[in-house]
Every structure is written in C-alpha cells, then in structure tokens.
Subunit: 230 residues, 2 copies
DNA sequence: AAGTGGTCTAGACCACTAG
DNA sequence: TAGTGGTCTAGACCACTTT
C-alpha cells in the first residue's frame, strides 16, 4: 500500500466515522503534508478522487470541506451486445430486419437538423432467443461511409464502435410497455414489459447516431457498482 | 487551457482520427514530454483520465497502447429521492407504510447472514402522485441506531445517507411487471410496468442495507452521460 | 492583500515485466 | 536485465476568492 492510498483510506475513515462531519473544514494541504510526513503532492493525490466522487469540495482561499452526501454515483458500462452475450457463455446471433434511407428514416425529434439519415432495424439473439431489438438512425453527413456499409452480417452497433473509437454519449433508461415492433420481434410473454436503452452519440457537438435498444424484461438487468476506494 | 488539457485533447484527436489506431504503441513518456515541451509529470497527468476511461492501456516495460473500444462507460448518479423531486420543481411527499422487526423482516436472499433486521416500506410522492415505492431491509448489527429510528417523517433513504456518508454500492436496474404491493400503492395504469432499482450498500464488506425502489414506468427515466473530455 | 488550492518542473528511486 | 511506467519530493509560480 502506497502512502497516497493509506492517506486516502485514513481520510475516508475520518469522514465516515463522523470525526470529520459534513461541513468540516479540513486542514490545508501543507498541514496535512506535515501530519502524514509526505510532500504536498502526495496529499493532493490522496484527495483528488474524493473530490471527483463529490465527498469533499475544494476552493482556493476557502479551503477544503466535507460535503454532505447527496447521491450515489456509480459507473454504468454498456458493452457491445455480442460481447455481453458471449461473455455469459451464450451463442450470439444477429439478424438485419430493415435498412432504409431517405424518407423512411425520419428524424422525429429534430435532432439531426435535416441531415441525411440511414435507418437500421436489427435483432440480436442469445442462444437463438431474441435478446435485443436495435432501432438506429445514423447521420450520413457525419459518417458518410455508413451509406454503403453492409449491416447484414455486422451489426451497426459494432460497425460504429470500431469507426468512432471515442465519442460522448447520453444514455436514457426506461421501462416501457412493448410497441408494435417489440411485440413482433422480441417474442414477449403476455404483459411482459421491455427494458429500453436509448442512446445519443456525439462527436464535437454533432450527433452521430441515435439508437433505441429494447430488451425483454424477463431475465434482463443492468448492474453497476461504485469503484471501491478500499 | 492548461498544457495538460491541450495535450490530452491532442492525443484524443490522434486516437479518434485513427492516426493512432487501436493497437498503436504510443511514444513513451519521455518522448512525449520532449515532443510537447513539458515535464514528464504533465504527460502523465494528460494521459491518466484516458487510462481510467479505458482508451489506452499502460504496462511497465511494455509501454502504452491504444485499446480498441469495447464499451461505453458513463456515470450513473442516484440522488436522494426528495432532492430529485424537488429539483424538478415538484412538491415532495412521504408516507411510511410499514415498519417491522424480527420475523417479518426476512432475509430472502441470505445476504445478511442471520443478522437482526428492520424492514421498512414507504412511499415517496411527487405532487401527491406516487413516485417511488421503497422496500428496505436494514442490518441492525451494523447500524444498531436504526432499531429505534423514527421513519414516519424522515425516509430511511435520507436517514441512512446522512449516517453513512460513504459506502460502496451495487445497483441493479430492471423492468418488471408490477407485484402486489406495487399495484396497491403506485396507482399504476392498466398493464403499466415498473422500473425497479435494487441496491446493496456495503461498508468494509458488511452489507448495511438492501433496498428495492419501484417507479411507475410512465414518465420515469434515468439519464446518464459520459464525462466529456472536451 | 493574503491565503488557499491548482499547475508545473527536474529529478530521484522503485516495481514490474518483456525480451 | 534493461526499459518502461508508477510513486514521491521539494520547490516555484500562478489563479482565484475571501477578508
């Protein structure tokens, strides 16, 4: 255990034990450096994840204070669907259901500002059972290669992630009563809802793609955990 | 814009433009420091969030490589229910439905290893409409004060978060057909599903509390976004 | 105006692991 | 065993913001 880890743990302990309650002003960096017998940089390193996690707040001249906890933050990871299925030891299957350009690909929410679009509907299967219905709009102005891409064997999900390695993403999670397409393709049980993941992907402010991914609720869940400090 | 930010942006640009494609070995720290005319520490600072985000991988002696993107990670924040409702400009309401000790508080999943428990069922309202049904087990061995706490005016959610400022959390998200209690208290429309958040809270490996929070699907969603580097 | 956190440097030594 | 990343130091200067 490195000094910065020990110091972080100790400070975490003081916060959790209420020895340093919400609102408490921590000693400033030089004092802490002196107390723990390290350089100031090591103190900064110990504190920095606590700032990111929202446990403490720092302001120049004002110092560092313990923040009353208001929320739990955790990291949600959404993998490529094929990897998710294969990691669970299941056989992955994929079927392109529909692909169209132009008027069929409508920008209902006005997000794409009139850009030409491609609309792809596809189905991901796990051991032959419907796992996810993917309904996607791709901005052909931002990704012109998508016009002629062949999505009959590679899903747009994987094709895009390979092409746009990094981008900013907004994800919305919902429970929904199934729509017509959901019922048609997902082989839902009677009254079974769908778990919907909706995602906007942007690069430099331009929206690249909008996707709705619907899962049969039965047997599907998303798991997320805090990155433990301990 | 500080040097470390400019360097990070430039490296991000090289990765996204495929100038540095997946598998590419980056120059080592001293070379980069030389190229950008900064100290080695500044290069480390520029790269470190890219490591956290999983864009690059670093190994001693082996160097630094660009990783093919496999998943989208984003941060999911679950606030105290009251804050969430009030931030939306709605009136918060709370009602304790049931509170019991002993046999009524059963540890169905065997998570609490026989510890004494308190079982609390409560309802959170937004503008008088049911918003969330909270069904919670609290470990009285870990938090003995919870035995006599009064949950008729303060929800266990808030009471606990004030008492245990930091802890590790595992969250599971699901869409479900409503159970008996859900239908009874959430005033669901016909065939309306519920969005369920299930959460285990731990401290130093001991499970403190297990909670199931059910929301009427209609009008409820969770939003999460990547922390943009730009 | 002064005190606090934020950035950066130049250097040292250590820990791991690929070759 | 040599090369790379990981940690730490002691110091400097800067930026912000409270008093």
């Amino acid at each position: 255990m490195h000094p910065y880890e020990e110091i972080r743990t100790e400070i975490l302990r003081r916060i959790n034990s209420q020895a340093w309650p919400a609102g408490f002003a921590l000693p400033h960096e030089e004092k802490l450096a002196e107390e723990f017998g390290v350089a100031r940089g090591t103190i900064r390193r110990a504190l920095s994840p606590l700032v990111d996690a929202g446990l403490i707040e720092r302001r120049r001249r004002a110092g560092t204070r313990v923040v009353g906890r208001k929320a739990h933050s955790s990291t949600l990871t959404i993998p490529v669907v094929r990897h998710e299925i294969e990691r669970g030891g299941h056989a992955y299957g994929y079927k392109l259901l529909r692909s169209s350009l132009g008027d069929d690909a409508r920008d209902d929410q006005g997000l794409f500002a009139g850009a030409p679009l491609r609309h792809i509907v596809s189905l991901h299967l796990s051991d032959g059972r419907p796992y996810q219905l993917e309904d996607r709009l791709v901005n052909l102005e931002a990704i012109p290669e998508a016009r002629d891409a062949d999505f009959s064997t590679v899903s747009p999900n994987e094709w895009l992630i390979a092409r746009v390695p990094y981008s900013s993403v907004r994800t919305i999670l919902r429970a929904e009563m199934p729509g017509t397409n959901d019922s048609k393709y997902l082989k839902l049980q009677r009254d079974e809802p769908v778990f919907v993941i909706e995602r906007q992907t942007r690069l430099d402010g331009n929206i690249l793609t909008l996707v709705r991914m619907a899962h049969p609720a039965h047997g599907f869940q998303m798991i997320t955990a805090t990155d433990d400090f301990q």
